[in-house]
């Protein structure tokens, strides 16, 4: 009998100016609320891991997540991964000191691949994840940096292999084309990459329904799925609202409905997967 697959359910929280935001294809950002309140709600409902990303860190050359990391890590007893603008050993130290369990690197690795090797030597493979954001043009895959802003002429499959060779413990692979649309994962992308590398792969971008998770797990050898829109747009009704003063708040103003009955979507997703022979925590 074939062994049942076990996967992790991870949520990605994109943060800008201290607010949880969400876009489509990593663009057109909407403000959704306070990332701390969201992460608490997800933790209580059984999320396996939380992934914080400072959306504009590389663009602005800043690294502002520290204070949010600390606040979040205080009451979070599952792993917390942090990414966005980590460009030197000192930035990495700071993320870990403030309570990150794992760091995710994208842009800095593209500019200097050896950086991954340096990080691994200090913090260990298990704590260094490489984030790869793929963009598909004319049926060809490229990778991007600065959160989808700059396109690089690098083949994501070769790049993933190279990052594995440099010691990365995990690859979080995003399909920018699918991201935020809720039309399902790019199945071919994950199938192909899981034939090339042996370290854990996390699938991110496009998940809209429970079936999407099942499909990508059946079709490739991934270790986890990273969900954002699918959870955030449900949970924004239950999460305590904080006064928001910045950014595009139109969506929240028009759609926030605190009277909506609470559903534990994380538990429900896990029950669905378990019923379909996929193990979860």
């Amino acid at each position: 009998m074939k062994k049942k697959k076990f996967i992790r359910i991870i949520t990605r929280l994109d943060i800008k100016n201290g607010f949880l935001i969400k876009g489509i294809n990593l663009e057109g950002l909407r403000v959704l609320g306070d990332p701390y309140n969201f992460s608490q709600e997800y933790y209580k409902d059984g999320i396996d891991e939380i992934f914080y990303v400072d959306n504009v860190a590389t663009l602005y050359g800043t690294n502002n997540l520290s204070k949010f990391i600390k606040k979040t890590a205080t009451n979070l007893f599952v792993p917390l991964a942090v990414g966005g603008g980590i460009k030197c050993i000192k930035d990495a130290h700071r993320a870990f000191e403030h309570g990150a369990d794992k760091i995710a690197i994208n842009s800095a690795a593209i500019l200097n691949p050896k950086f991954i090797n340096d990080l691994v030597k200090i913090f260990g493979s298990a704590n260094v994840c490489v984030s790869i954001e793929t963009i598909k043009y004319d049926d060809k895959y490229f990778i991007s940096r600065s959160n989808g802003r700059d396109i690089e002429k690098l083949n994501p499959f070769e790049w993933a292999k190279k990052m594995q060779d440099f010691g990365a413990g995990e690859i979080c692979l995003t399909s920018v084309n699918q991201e935020g649309l809720g039309r399902g994962f790019d199945l071919k992308l994950y199938e192909k990459v899981s034939n090339i590398i042996s370290i854990p792969i996390l699938a991110h971008g496009g998940c809209g329904k429970y079936e999407d998770v099942q499909k990508v797990v059946k079709n490739s050898n991934i270790s986890g799925v990273v969900l954002s829109s699918m959870l955030h747009y449900q949970y924004l009704h239950y999460v305590k609202l904080k006064k928001i003063t910045l950014g595009n708040t139109t969506y929240l103003e028009n759609n926030f409905d605190p009277k909506r009955k609470k559903i534990n979507h994380i538990r429900k997703l896990k029950e669905y997967l378990n019923a379909n022979n996929i193990l979860t925590r």
Partner: protein, 205 residues
């Protein structure tokens, strides 16, 4: 009434003290980070955490004089030492990560590289060896998952002290040992959700 314990967490210069500190604080104990050997004796329980490498961690423990203090501390049956992940491995006599290194030797045994995978990262269930003296080690606990991140494992000489095992590709490894007042956990209770906090609560009693 709950008895508040004085718990010291040893700072090995590694980066993940924040989570374990918060988890212990969350359980309403008095907790402090310690980095001097003379502080050790003031506490009821010492937590030895650890991310990093065996040799490096032992070098720090030895140079700060903590290794000697910890060995003394371990002989006092009213006190308790809890090793987590690398901290658990340091309690053994010998490590083999990047060459042979002498461990604290509080528990007889050696630390060996995982053979089935390079790295064990993620959630796993525990196979509990029931023990009447620790009633939290029961069937219920087996339903839960715990968070592991490591590439070496403990092989204590006395197999009877192994209270829980985890599995990788059909091979079982030591996930938890308890020998009197010395406890070792291979997984991270501070990162294993509510189930992890329950274990932590019970072993801090």
């Amino acid at each position: 009434m709950k008895i508040k314990k004085k718990i010291g967490i040893i700072d090995l210069g590694s980066h993940n003290l924040f989570s374990i500190f918060q988890a212990v604080k969350n359980l309403k104990h008095y907790v402090k980070i310690i980095n001097k050997s003379e502080q050790i004796n003031k506490f009821d329980i010492i937590i030895l955490p650890g991310v990093g490498t065996f040799g490096n961690a032992m070098k720090i423990l030895n140079s700060l004089g903590m290794a000697k203090e910890l060995k003394k501390f371990s002989k006092n049956s009213n006190k308790k030492i809890i090793g987590i992940c690398l901290g658990m491995q340091l309690l053994l006599s010998e490590g083999t990560e990047f060459g042979k290194h002498k461990g604290l030797g509080i528990i007889e045994g050696s630390v060996i590289k995982l053979d089935k995978v390079k790295l064990n990262i993620g959630w796993k269930q525990l196979k509990i060896n029931k023990d009447k003296s620790y009633n939290f080690l029961n069937k219920n606990l087996q339903k839960n998952y715990f968070y592991f991140v490591h590439s070496f494992y403990c092989s204590p000489k006395d197999k009877n002290i192994i209270k829980a095992k985890f599995e990788i590709n059909d091979t079982l490894y030591c996930g938890m040992f308890i020998k009197d007042n010395i406890i070792g956990l291979q997984f991270h209770p501070e990162k294993s959700g509510k189930a992890g906090l329950i274990i932590l609560k019970n072993i801090l009693k």
